[in-house]
Amino acid sequence: MALMPDLLAQFLQMALVLVLAPLLTGFVRKLKARLLRRRGPSLTQPYRDLLRLLRKEVVLAENASWLFRAAPYLIFATTWVAAALVPTFATGLLYSWSADLIVIIALLGSARFLLALAGLDVGTSFGGIGSSREVMIASLAEPAMLLIAFTVALIAGSTQLSTVAAFMGSPDVGLRVSLGMAAIALVMVAIAENARIPVDNPATHLELTMVHEAMVLEYSGRHLAMIEFASHLKLLLYVSLIACLFAPWGLAEPGAGRGAMAAGVAAWLGKLAAGGALLAAFETATAKMRVFRVPEFLGAALMLGLLATLLMFVSKSL
């Protein structure tokens, strides 16, 4: 039956994102270290970390609740599902019809919701700091993301990522101001969402500056591994999202042959590499900003998104 290959492709993507996510992180770290004239850890370091964490026993705080223990898996699961929905190397995968861009955003939102709750569960001051700052950042990042989604959807006439990607690939996109704005806004949001410099520093453990790390402070062992994994996945997701929206080249058509698939995978790897490189370069070039400068940063993203949407609404009628 025809269902089989589609299913296979779908599972292939899910497996691929799972495999490649730590690699991307490792790649970025490596590159950053290089740019800072350090040798840096090997590309496989993230895998090792994950495995080690998985093997370690979990140290739970006394009053950690079932929510605290369930959260990591759920966070991982939602992020994975979201990542599985983004067209990476092929469009129109079987599962991609069950959700669109807005759903992806919302799924990441659920992950964040759980993470913020987990940060509050033990009842430590740092968890509180992390959660409250996280939701503050999210309260700006999410609308910005949604407005970007609006812009894209208005251009492509659909919120369905596969359709959007196909449309973006086609010549009749043309060069649009709002598209550029959306791109910039999306990058800014991606930086914030993945707790990268200048919004947050994934490497720091300076209490007062950290956001994401503060929330997961109480986690250890396999739980921590799940959360780390989820953040790797998130990074991958955003890079591939940006790629499929603004560089939708080489994506395999629905029902395409193995060759096209392979080409798609290759193209995707290339995009990931490029994205990682850009990120590393950007992070080394900038410094982290104060927490209360972050709203301004994201507010700019929000405004860009709104502007882009407005332009779309107006231009639609012309």
């Binding site: 705080a61 503050m136 639609k316």
Partner: protein, 671 residues
């Protein structure tokens, strides 16, 4: 064969009888169980009847007539698709609240002030939805206000409750009088039946005026900004199951009134009215959630959050009006469906959350989140249900809150077709507001749940809390079940709503039952689609897969230890993040102008042993700018006029004399 409308009227009559019974049996525990048990049964069966109407005979409206009320006209009742849907909402909410109350009512200090009015309140809400002429509508509408006022005054001894009830009643009457004027416009012919109004032709100016009055009347009841000020006072003041009804159901009845007038009775919708409603809805959504975020009183937070959801619903209604006025019935159907779906969703999870708050209140005697915490250990079941409510209301997949917001977004994406520039500018702005409010809602409920249920207990009351009774739990879990069901199988709800769309707009959303894999497709598969149960299944599957693999192949060893907390753990729960500190960043981002928030920090001089204090002063600007001046004006006028009470007889005679002379002068210069 007796019509369903008549059937529901019997239900209403039965509810009234139960009210009398409650008055008779007040004080006895048996009375409590009897009354609430009977209301469960009645509301349940009425919901079933309404659902039946909605499913099997949607097109044909069932009517009934009683020789009551306004003479030479009588009371007309009508059960069409729209009213059937709202009857269902009311029934479900009422049944759940009554079930909850069977257990919760045990903590009631003054049952004599609740039992008689509670069934009356339910009956009145059903009557509003059934009414088919202006008099019966307003009669039941005001009766609803009056009975809920009595319920708000149930705990009249507590501080501020009397004031809350007072503000509530005045605002309610304000709304009723606005609607009264509106119907005065519509019933120009002197025929008060809705049938006549449907038939009549209305000038565009009339339509606009009526819509404005309906917005004032129904809006003040639903709690749109700036008419919301009574809501966060009154809803928390009532007993929790009543708060749930007021917040979850009564506001929806108000929405029903608005839909009825704006889409059906008031004549052809104007695009300007769509603009107006969109504006109001957007502002309401954002302000509501921002106010909710800074509340520390759990029930008041929920009440403020109701304002936000009302805003979302009105955004949907505004879109529908805009589309309909521009001859885009299909898009209008999408927007209206989204709004009605959200009506259902909000009624469910807001009731659920109020039940949770009530359970917490009963267990700890605390509404102040600053004195709660760690309840997830002592009330695990309640905590679970409450969490479901939080996820649902934060519009997170795979629960139902997300679906309605998703549909609203899809409706917004339809709107570039609108010709008017005002709408072109307004709709994206409203979209941004909607997105903002959705994100803030998540933040708000992270706070609500994290502070009150997670962390360490902040007071002895929270430390000694016990799990609540089984009836309350049954109610909460039932509603959580509905949240999940509506979230993963939204197609059925959409199809059930279709007849109402057909009746109001002459169009409907595409049939969802046919779509393969039970996903929903608002417009076309190419544009957008969502499959709730698949998403849910994948999450569950992958999560359990991860658990399985890890526990099977990696370690499952576990050790309990003191919290790490960056190496500086602190045994004192006071060092946790409080509700205030949690909201502080957001308050700093949005708050300074919206709440005129001021923070007063008293830092003692180095060496002094005085404690450092940090106080935040938050004001509801609407109150200061709108309500206080009005109250002041009335005060001033009464003060000035009051002089007339203390004149000498001679001066009173002077008044008479002057009146006489004036009238004579009038007569002298009369042509």
């Amino acid at each position: 064969m007796i019509g369903r409308a008549a059937l529901l009227l019997f239900g209403v009559a039965a509810l009234l009888a139960v009210g009398l019974l409650g008055g008779a049996l007040r004080g006895r525990p048996a009375g409590r169980r009897l009354v609430y048990g009977m209301t469960v049964v009645l509301c349940g069966s009425m919901a079933a009847a309404a659902l039946g109407q909605l499913l099997d005979a949607p097109a044909a409206a069932s009517v009934a007539w009683l020789p009551l009320g306004l003479p030479w006209q009588g009371a007309h009742f009508r059960l069409d698709a729209l009213s059937a849907f709202f009857c269902f909402v009311v029934g479900v909410g009422g049944a759940a609240a009554s079930l909850f109350a069977i257990g919760y009512g045990r903590h009631e200090t003054a049952p004599g002030r609740v039992l008689p009015f509670y069934p009356l309140f339910l009956a009145a809400m059903n009557l509003v939805v059934l009414a088919d002429d202006a008099f019966s509508f307003l009669f039941s509408w005001e009766l609803m206000s009056l009975s809920s006022w009595a319920l708000v005054m149930a705990h009249h001894q507590e501080r501020d409750n009397a004031h809350a009830g007072y503000v509530y009643l005045v605002m309610a009457s304000f709304g009723t009088l606005a609607l009264l004027l509106g119907f005065g416009l519509l019933a120009a012919a002197g025929d008060y039946t809705f049938d006549a109004m449907r038939g009549a032709e209305h000038a565009p100016s009339t339509t606009l005026l009526v819509l404005a009055l309906a917005l004032l009347g129904a809006g003040s009841k639903a709690g749109i900004v700036p008419l919301h000020a009574w809501l966060p006072l009154a809803h928390p003041a009532a007993p929790s199951h009543v708060s749930a009804l007021m917040s979850g159901v009564m506001t929806k009845v108000a929405v029903y009134g608005f839909i009825r007038i704006a889409f059906e009775l008031g004549g052809e919708p104007q695009w300007a009215s769509g603009f107006l409603v969109l504006l109001v809805g957007g502002i309401t959504a954002v302000l509501g959630v921002l106010y909710a975020l800074i509340q520390h009183d759990l029930k008041r937070l929920l009440a403020y959050h109701t304002v936000e959801n009302i805003g979302i619903i009105f955004i949907g209604l505004g879109l529908a009006l805009a589309f309909q006025s521009n001859g885009l019935p299909a898009a209008a159907a999408l927007a209206l469906t989204a709004a009605l779906f959200h009506v259902l969703n909000h009624s469910v999870f807001k009731s659920l959350l109020f039940f949770g708050a009530g359970a917490v209140l009963a267990a700890t005697g605390e509404r102040d989140m600053e004195r709660l915490g760690g309840l997830i250990h002592r009330m695990p079941k309640t905590a679970f249900a409450f969490l479901a409510g939080c996820i649902a209301i934060s519009a997170l997949p795979p629960l139902n809150g997300f679906v309605s917001e998703w549909l609203t977004f899809q409706a917004i994406l339809q709107s570039p077709e609108l010709p008017q520039w005002a709408l072109k500018i307004m709709v994206p702005a409203v979209g941004a507001m909607l997105a903002l409010s959705a994100a803030l809602a998540a933040a708000c409920f992270v706070k609500a749940y994290g502070i009150s249920f997670l962390g360490r207990p902040r007071s002895d009351a929270a430390r000694q809390a016990r799990e609540t009774d089984r009836f309350s739990l049954a109610a909460m879990f039932g509603l959580s079940g509905i949240c999940l069901a509506a979230g993963i199988l939204p197609g059925f709800v959409i199809d059930a709503l279709a007849p109402a769309m057909q009746a109001l707009l002459g169009a409907r959303m595409p049939l969802q039952a046919g779509v393969d894999w039970l996903s929903i497709v608002p417009v076309a598969a190419g544009r957008s689609s969502y499959n709730g149960w698949l998403v849910f299944a994948f999450i569950a599957l992958s999560a359990s897969l991860a658990v399985l693999i890890i526990h099977r192949f990696a370690s499952h060893a576990r050790r309990r230890a003191p919290a790490w907390d960056c190496g500086s753990p602190d045994p004192d729960p006071a060092t946790q993040y409080t509700a205030g500190s949690f909201a502080q960043p957001i308050r700093r981002v949005y708050g300074t102008w919206i709440f005129a928030a001021r923070e007063v920090v008293e830092m003692p001089a180095p060496g002094s042993v005085a404690p450092a204090r940090h106080r935040e002063i938050l004001r509801d600007l609407v109150w200061d700018r709108l309500y206080a001046p009005v109250a002041g004006a009335v005060e001033y006028a009464s003060e000035r006029l009051n002089v007339l009470q203390f004149l000498t007889i001679r001066r009173y005679l002077t008044l008479v004399f002057l009146a006489l002379v004036t009238l004579l002068l009038v007569l002298a210069i009369w042509p």
